[in-house]
Amino acid sequence: MGFGFENITASIHNWLYNTFNPSIALLIEFILVAICIITLFSLLGLVLIMMERKVSAWMQVRLGPNRVGPKGMFQTVADTLKLIIKEGMTPDGADKFLFNLAPFIVMIVAMVLMAPIMFAKGFQIWDINIGILFFASVSSVSVIGILMAGWASNNKYSLLGAMRSGAQIVSYELSAGLAILTVIVLTGSLRISDIIESQQNGWWIFKGHIPVIIAFIIFLIAVTAETNRAPFDMAEAESELTAGFHTEYSGMKFALFFLAEYVNIFIVCAVGATLFLGGWMPLHIGNWQGFNHVMDYIPSSIWFFGKTFFLIFVIMWFRWTFPRLRIDQLLNLEWKYLLPISMVNLLLATVIAIAGWHF
């Protein structure tokens, strides 16, 4: 395992600190990271939107985009170009400052959330010791951006969409948080690298008995709701509220919302993969030395992205199969079913962790 992301990053780090003085080296590192994040952001947008189109086409017995570039690969690029050229309208009655600020808040939140994610072995921007807590707390800021967009648009559809979204994100954060805690009590650490290390001899979804499986399902439901995806796309609900909170947005401002939605999906799936499916950790089964050794030969980044994209596919699968819930049913589901279940589940997981019954 001579080649790996951790070697590349370490050599760049060493070279910078040997060549420049520490403060300039740090500054250069900041800029490099920012460039990486922005590139990753746009790449993810392109890939995920393409994936959504192809997955939906596959489920809906049609071909999907197939004209721009080979197999329609550059359709998203063409769409982005179109959106950049379009006029970024601001409605007359809108609160102009908040209206223009909202997409950036949603976008910045998605960017900041990239920080603690571990993309491959040793390839992480910020291995903060409260990594998961950071994720849970920062992700709730995006609701401010959505509420801002809904209120500042001075459009009733937008306002209703934002109201729904606010109620929805705030409630589903509880379940998502409790599902995350289920794994945290087993690992005993909030640091992402520790969580992944703890899954060296098996992923938590296999090691943690039924409570972790339940937590995984609840986590999937809750993050689908948190990212405003169907069947919980109450905030947009195109057949009810035309486009919900971003009804009035056009051009690049709309594109930012759109991009942030897809990057958010990637982030929550990455966190799900990290917590339950071992992040970059290859599939290891107990004492099968030979099997584990073969699995180690697959690069860690492929493991991470494979797991994440599998979860993204599951979330897309939800979207193209299920009808949408109604707002009161959505809140009932959270407060009457998911929240009590995840609380009991957390207790069970705690008992397992204390008694050491997990593998």
């Binding site: 017995v61 009655g93 306002l159 069947p231 057949s239 009808p323 109604r326």
Partner: protein, 383 residues
Amino acid sequence: MYRQTEIISDLSKTPPSEGLEGADMIINIGPQHPATHGVLHLVITLNGETIKKVEPHLGYIHRSIEKMCESLSYRQFIYATSRMDYLSSHINNHGCALCVEKGLQIEIPARAQVIRVLMDELTRIASHTLWWGAMAMDVGALTPFFLAFREREMINDIMEETCGARLTMNYMVPGGVMFDLHPNFQKKVKEFITHFKNKIDEYDELVTDNVIFRNRTENVGVISKEDAISYGMSGPSARASGVQCDIRKLYPYEIYNQLQFEEIIETGCDSFARYLVRMKEMRQSLSIVEQLIDNIPDGEFQAKTKAVLKLPKGEFYSRVETARGEFGVYIVSEGGTTPYRIKFRSPGFSNLSSLDHIARGSKIGDLVAIMGTLDFVIPDIDR
């Protein structure tokens, strides 16, 4: 009758003194809105997300078809009605042709009768499949829409071969049908029957048994039998409330009294019952097509009629069961070559009148589901 639409465009213009309790939010759904499937304009008064009042505003696609028909001959006016309920245009034409034939007292050849009924039922299946897709789209499932179009395309191809058109078929003439069946007709319809029998089970799997869909439609949009009758509802929407109103059974026309089929009646009175009625009707229509497809009698496809038709002085009324309900044609003739007055009784208009009654007290999401199950075609309402 046009009323000035009450539009409060700015949130700050709602009276501040009334506070949050007293102020109603008025939202315009339509005329351009994804859920109205056309240019229906609903002014809904909201309290939070709960609907207090629904007021349909019509006239966005009014083409005065009734008035136009007064200056068209008895052969011509039939085709103007294709543009009313464009999803069951064949059945509309059928109603008009029946009315003219009643006035002229023409005997229709047996072959023409069977062809007409076959086409009617194929149209009904096509209309209901499209409704199924659109209804599922209204409650948020996008995939059924594409699946529904796949099946509808097969029917449209059959129609295209025989009638020469896919949507507004214009296949009816007083006394029969315009052309004979295409040689491929029987083969293609049989293919469709085997294909659709599998697919309709897939429909049930995907949508009918889905727990979210059940939650969205069960006990939502309830209208009692008495209310359904007093609002003049007809068709599948009324039959879901237990009203017996299938014209094919009550006042059989053509050869419907010789066919084996059931009038689907549900007593659920809610959106889900309306959904079930249409799903079961598709199976019934399919069985009618199955009964007839091998038994098309030989003979003329059109009765001999005069070149210029003149209805005797008097009033004539006929009705048919379209995919949406009872379609009535009322002709007043002065004995000339054009009708003196024509009135159409379209099912959509009466069904729409019940919307306010049904939707009060439910959520915006429910309104969309209710509109989906009432199956509106806006040009049918506006004419």
